[in-house]
């Protein structure tokens, strides 16, 4: 394929990786991957879930050693046997799976392994001071207060993600890999991050940027490198390519790509059930409150897909958790007319409610257990005693095929999956249940374009079968494309309900930022 167009008259790359290969047992994570980045350049690394992006990132930063291939940095061959070496050379990364220690404070995490010392001891004052300076670059976009002394465990996923960025910056990198660092950030946080990235680029930093949100690629990158099944299949300047071409490169072209695009642009909007207002009421909330979530009233009808938006951490996750019975709540809840008060998720499940958590590593996965067990965890009851394992396996295989999870075998631990594929497992365990009410907390985090389209189609199918869906997303495009109605939350309150004419990007942003008059409160 004539896919490579080496840009003319360019300086030496800061980093170049050629012919990189890496296998895990029978799985070829990378076969023939190449990537080069110049100082002062932002390169987007694109590819479907499991195409090898994170693996390549880990090889560049010395976490993983390649089986074959060469790395050069600053004109000299680079041999890394551990991450510390890479960091000393000025190469750091924000990894997809967050690496913070929950029991330590923000400052302790940021300086872990290179604490400032004075007179033989850790210099806590300097450590805090410099952390505060670094945190200041995100001032105003944190959804909860983040101080150097804040315990990481108390932070929501978006803030932990920003702390990861700060932690990488503390090493003063010359090359920074951002592996899906935006996946759990809201619009405002992404804006700030991009402002910073542009600043770093000015300062001569090289950035490798991985994201499944195509619009971000076009906003921040200078060049895109595309991986498919572990092979670098193409390289494009951002100014000379459109989204469709990139998606085609990622997927290998053909019909799949077409569906993916359709799904991305206007997912499921056509699936609005006619006459939805006459459909029976499924969920009715009266003065429902929980923790930061201020009392709210809400009515959801059968087959409706209602979005919950706003900046990250405004109480959206808490609202969903409370509806699922995982945290206490006040007020009235009626499910299909009958009053209910779930005291734990089990009761909610039995009543036909399902929930996809927003934090896959802490709430959604059993990393060391096989994929099969992860998918069937809520469902074992259905397989009798003794458990009919063949049937459980067949059903799991069907879900895996439905979501196109790339795996070697159902018996492999879920920790071996790529981030996006692991997320599909978190969603997949509920798919065979046909819930009455499905609560989704940012379910497409790190999921690739194709799989997103597949998920949207599944949601439409569930809707058609009468499932009511309450859907929180940090991706505005997704809310606008999927939902007939979007509740915007700010500070625990529903400050706007957008539908019909008001359901567009402008109103959504305005409502999220707290501007008045965006819609009826």
């Amino acid at each position: 394929m004539p896919d490579r167009d080496p840009p003319a008259s360019t300086p030496e790359p800061l980093l170049s990786a050629r012919g990189i290969a890496k296998r895990y047992g029978a799985v070829r994570a990378l076969e023939e991957a190449s990537l080069s980045v110049r100082a002062g350049e932002v390169v987007a690394l694109l590819g479907a879930n499991g195409s090898g992006k994170s693996t390549l990132g880990k090889i560049i930063t010395g976490i993983t050693r390649p089986d074959a291939g060469t790395l050069t940095f600053d004109g000299a061959p680079l041999h890394l046997s551990e991450p510390a070496q890479a960091r000393r050379r000025g190469i750091t990364a924000v990894y997809q799976e967050l690496s913070l220690v929950p029991d330590l404070s923000v400052a302790e995490n940021v300086w872990l392994g290179h604490e400032p010392v004075r007179r033989g001891g850790i210099d806590r004052r300097t450590m805090k001071g410099r952390t505060a300076e670094l945190l200041a670059s995100f001032a105003g976009v944190f959804s909860v207060p983040v101080e150097p002394d804040t315990l990481v465990d108390s932070l929501p996923p978006s803030e932990r993600q920003l702390v990861e960025v700060v932690k990488a910056l503390a090493w003063r990198p010359r090359l920074l890999v951002l592996d899906e660092a935006t996946a759990s950030l809201d619009a405002r946080q992404v804006d700030r991050l991009f402002e910073l990235v542009r600043g770093w680029r000015e300062g001569g930093m090289a950035v490798v940027f991985v994201s499944h949100r195509m619009n971000e690629i076009f906003r921040v990158a200078d060049r895109a490198v595309v991986l498919r099944n572990g092979v670098t299949v193409g390289e494009r300047r951002i100014g000379e390519v459109d989204e469709q071409e990139l998606v085609q490169l990622m997927t290998g072209g053909g019909a799949v790509a077409a569906i993916a695009l359709e799904g991305h642009d206007a997912p499921g909007a056509a699936a609005a059930p006619p006459g939805a207002t006459e459909a029976p009421v499924v969920l009715e909330l009266r003065r429902f409150a929980s923790g930061v979530v201020a009392p709210l009233d809400l009515t959801l009808r059968q087959g409706e897909l209602v979005g919950v938006g706003g900046l990250q951490g405004q109480g959206q996750s808490r609202l969903l958790l409370a509806l699922f019975g995982a945290v206490p709540h006040q007020g009235e809840v009626r499910l299909e007319g009958a009053p209910v008060a779930f005291r734990n998720p089990r009761q909610a499940l039995r009543a036909g409610v399902a929930y996809v958590p927003g934090d896959r590593n802490r709430e959604g996965l059993l990393p060391v257990r096989p994929i099969l067990e992860n998918l069937q965890l809520p469902n074992w009851r259905r397989y009798g005693t003794p458990l009919r394992m063949e049937r459980a396996r067949r059903d799991a295989a069907a879900v895996v095929a439905d979501l196109d999870v790339r795996l070697a075998s159902l018996d492999e631990p879920v920790a071996n999956l790529s981030g996006g594929n692991a997320q599909k497992v978190v969603i997949g365990k509920w798919l065979s249940r046909r819930p009455k009410l499905l609560l989704l907390d940012d379910p497409t985090k790190g999921v690739d374009v194709n799989a997103k389209a597949e998920l949207y189609r599944l949601l439409a199918r569930l809707q058609a079968q009468g499932t009511t869906i309450l859907f929180h997303s940090s991706d505005d495009a997704e809310l606008l494309g999927l939902c007939q109605r979007v509740l915007v939350m700010q500070d625990g309150r529903v400050t706007a309900t957008l539908e019909g004419d008001t359901l567009d990007q402008r109103h959504l942003v305005a409502a999220a930022m707290g501007a008045q008059g965006a819609g009826a409160a």
Binding site: G25, F324, A326, N344, P345, R346, L349, Y355, P357, R362, E363, G364, L365, L366, P367, V368, R369, E373, Q376, L377, P378, W380, R381, Y383, T385, P386, L387, M389, P413, A415, N416, K429
Partner: protein
């Protein structure tokens, strides 16, 4: 390059140790000796069954009351049956009920009062030991039912009953862990309780049931042990406490929870018993035995740890 499961490593090690013993003590390697060692391992293995479940359940799970409950199981059998085989059934029922009740209290304390397992079960061990002492004042009337002795020591095809019972328990434990909802949920609870709860698992129920089973299995172990020792004394079970934990760990069950198997524990029990017999036959003192045990633990754990890193 596939990974060898820890259970297989431990099993191979015990076989290797057996033949190694032959080099040091030529008269050590024969069928009778092998059977004898497996029989000794059977009691440890049975007593460590509950420990396996508790350790898999995670949350710093450990049951330090098994020693005391083994003693109690043996003493109750001794006293209730009074040596009569007809009353063995009654003894069995009481022993199982009392063991389960003790485990239930452990579980409730750990789950609902949030007492750390180490503290709760250690306290329970003290309470049980103390109660035995206070009630019996060291004077324990009773006897060993002949039926029990026959069941445990009687031979079928040259193999003592204890070994058949152990094999049966092995199958039962495999079934419980691999083919019941409880087993699957136990592993999930051991890995991540939050994920388990959000997936509809009754986490409290699973943990309480696990400690209850541990108490029940330890008491059953005490009953069977009586058939072997033919006498009771106040420290009967105590000697099994540390080995019951060591057997689980040597068998590859992870102390952090969520991973392991009872076959591993069985192999672990063989390794420990094997080593002990060998050292004893070489007239190596108890202090050195302990050093060797410690060394085996450290070496095996680092081997398993390294394998996991490669995963």
């Amino acid at each position: 390059m596939s990974r060898v499961p820890p259970a297989a490593v431990a099993l191979l090690l015990s076989v290797a140790l057996f033949f190694l013993a032959g080099l040091v003590q030529p008269n050590f390697v024969n069928a009778a000796q092998a059977i004898n060692i497996v029989r000794l391992a059977a009691f440890l293995g049975i007593i460590a069954a509950g420990q396996t479940l508790v350790i898999i359940s995670g949350g710093e799970g450990i049951d330090l009351s098994v020693g005391a409950v083994v003693t109690l199981g043996a003493i109750l059998t001794f006293m209730i049956s009074g040596g009569s085989s007809e009353r063995l059934w009654l003894a069995l029922l009481v022993v199982l009920a009392v063991g389960a009740a003790i485990g239930l209290v452990n579980g409730l304390g750990i789950v609902f009062v949030r007492i750390p397992p180490l503290v709760m079960t250690l306290g329970m061990a003290g309470v049980v030991q103390g109660t035995i002492l206070a009630v019996t004042r060291g004077n324990i009337p009773g006897g060993v039912p002949r039926a029990l002795a026959n069941l445990v020591t009687g031979r079928f095809l040259g193999v003592p009953g204890a070994i058949y019972l152990w094999a049966l328990l092995g199958l039962l434990m495999w079934f419980v862990l691999q083919r019941t909802r409880y087993g699957r949920e136990l592993f999930a609870v051991g890995v991540n309780r939050r994920t388990a709860a959000l997936s509809g698992v009754n986490v409290s129920g699973v943990v309480v049931l696990t400690y209850t089973l541990s108490g029940l299995l330890a008491a059953l172990g005490g009953l069977l042990l009586l058939g072997f020792t033919q006498r009771v004394f106040l420290t009967l079970g105590e000697t099994y406490l540390f080995p019951s934990i060591a057997a689980v760990v040597v068998g590859g069950t992870v102390l952090a929870g969520g991973r392991g198997s009872y076959f591993g524990t069985m192999a672990g029990a063989l390794v420990l018993t094997m080593t002990e017999s060998l050292l004893r036959s070489m007239r190596i003192g108890e202090a050195y035995q302990m050093i060797v045990f410690g060394a085996i633990l450290v070496v095996l754990l680092s081997v398993y740890g390294r394998q996991r890193e490669r995963e």
